[in-house]
Amino acid sequence: MNATVAMQMTGADFLKLRKRWVTLIWSLVLTLLPLLLYFIISAAQHSSSPQEHAPAGGVNGFQDSLRILALFFGPLAAILVGSDAGAGDSTAGVFRDLVVTGRSRVALFATRVPAALALTWLIVIFAYALSIVGTFAFADGSPTPSFADVLNGFGFTLLSTGVVCAIAVGLASLTTSRPATLVALIGWQLVASPILTNISSLGSARKLVLREAIAHFSPVNLDGGGGHGPARGGAVTMGSATAIVVMLVWLVVFLALGAWRTRTMDA
């Protein structure tokens, strides 16, 4: 497969995803609406009682909006899009029609990943832009994040959503079931992971939790304490190398499983 065909196939996968209005609208709603609500409610509270409530924007607003977007609703949108990309062909029953073109099954799998990333990041960029607008528009004289913080936050948001999206593509390709993927990943990433992180008796095994490895790269304190990484309950601290290895293992395992299943399953 040459670069032209790879680009064409990725474009075709992107077309399938962006035309699925339900997924697209829900992803936009899930990323934009919480941020909008956060800024509106915080601004209303601040205006009604400036002494009691900090401004909605500024550094505090930036940190809160980054938590909302990068750790919760961004990955949720990434799971929606990734699961659609991974299981869409099988669910629609067209996978066999793609196989009978003679194109390598691994290639069919591989082009789903950049297509899903492209759509996820497009959505996340909109949401991040909204969070930056809110951060500066509602600062009300309080300190605002530096340009470097804004850039780092952007990179972190792309990393957080990108890793989860790629894993969703792999898992959905493995299960060929979108509902199963949604339940498994949302359950793990947004419910089980925070619980496991707070069980201090698990010790350093908590470093294997993907959410913690991702959070390590946050430019701001995502748990309200100081320094890098989450600190609520038993703090999970790890080195950057460990965090990178943990993320890579998660990515490699799920992408390999997705590729294996796509290559070997009866179509």
């Binding site: 064409q8 399938k16 629609a92 066999r96 793609l98 196989v99 003679g102 179509a267």
Partner: protein, 328 residues
């Protein structure tokens, strides 16, 4: 569209299998199938539901793995060179499926992107060929079953196929749709020189559409060959049914004639006559009997139907007796 070359030699059969077997656990869905599909014909793959038709197609196309045996498509051994073979194969397996949220044209764009950069140019001609140009911007979920079948054919045409494999293509179509589909298949064979492999459980459909066929039952190819030979039971048979006023005398005359290979008497003056060949015409038999003073009230060529032959074969199978192999 170029339908003349495939780089694997046009003299090779479109499909050839030897001892092809696919097992699901202990059960053999296809069992030692030897199939020969020549080029440039509409070939029927006929059998009752559950006979193994779709499994054979899925195995050929690489949608599932064979348990044993060898396969060639367009001269390429598969699975070793399946990718090359499939570049000039179009297939509809079971019912044609699409991304319902995309338009007809967008669905073709998806497949064209997978097939290669040059294929996008075939989208509009393919839509035009199947008469869907004016509905190409509608979402597929608004299409009728017949339109989806036609869009499935358009998807096949993106490959500029030397071989089309259509699995039960007339399922769900109304009579007009069936007729239209039949004409499309014949045009692809006669005007465009393609080979069309049609699986069906409809005897009448295969008989009207195909030049040759294989009958499959319980995973085995029972008989295959040209349509006329299949219907006649292995070789072309020229038979007549007669009603005469003096059956015993007529029988005696016929049994002594060089024109007649076999003559048997039925009830009430009816005779069944097998002629020695095509040259021995009904008119000559009539003249011979009338010349001998036998009154001929009825003389009718027997038309062998595939249905009759199919029932004979399946009846034998149910009795667990021998099977017939007829190769064209």
């Amino acid at each position: 569209m170029d339908t003349t070359t495939d780089g694997a030699g046009a003299q090779t059969p479109a499909i050839q299998t030897s001892g092809l077997t696919k097992r699901f656990g202990e059960r053999a869905a296809i069992d030692g199938v030897d199939l020969f599909v020549p080029r440039g014909v509409a070939f029927g793959f006929l059998g009752p539901n559950g006979a193994g038709k779709t499994t054979l197609i899925r195995t050929l196309l690489g949608l599932t793995h064979a348990s044993a045996g060898t396969m060639h498509m367009l001269g390429h051994p598969v699975p070793a060179e399946r990718d090359q073979a499939l570049q000039r194969v179009g297939a509809i397996v079971e019912e044609p499926r699409f991304h319902m949220h995309l338009t007809g044209r967008e669905n073709l764009r998806v497949v064209a992107a997978v097939r290669g950069p040059e294929v996008a140019a075939r989208i509009e001609p393919a839509l035009d060929r199947v008469g869907l140009s004016d509905r190409a911007t509608d979402k597929v979920k608004s299409y009728s079953m017949g339109m989806r079948q036609r869009l499935g054919v358009a998807r096949c045409l993106l490959a500029d196929p030397l071989l089309l494999i259509l699995d039960e293509p007339t399922n769900g179509l109304d009579p007009a749709g069936i007729q239209e589909f039949r004409e499309m298949i014949r045009a692809m064979v006669e005007q465009e020189g393609r080979t069309v492999f049609v699986s069906s459980h409809l005897l009448d459909e295969v008989e009207k559409t195909c030049d040759a066929a294989a009958i499959v039952d319980r995973g085995k190819v029972v008989v295959q060959g040209a349509m006329a030979e299949l219907a006649a039971g292995g070789k072309p048979r020229h038979e007549l049914l007669l009603n005469v006023d003096a059956s015993e005398r007529a029988l005696s005359i016929l049994q002594g004639s060089d024109l007649v290979a076999e003559a048997t008497a039925g009830g009430e003056g009816e005779l069944r006559v097998v002629l020695v060949g095509e040259a021995a015409s009904a008119a000559a038999v009539n003249a011979m009997l009338v010349g001998a003073g036998v009154g001929v009230m009825r003389l009718e060529p027997v038309r062998h139907s595939l249905e009759q032959r199919f029932l004979e074969i399946t009846t034998r199978l149910e009795g667990h007796s021998d099977r017939t192999e007829v190769h064209a």
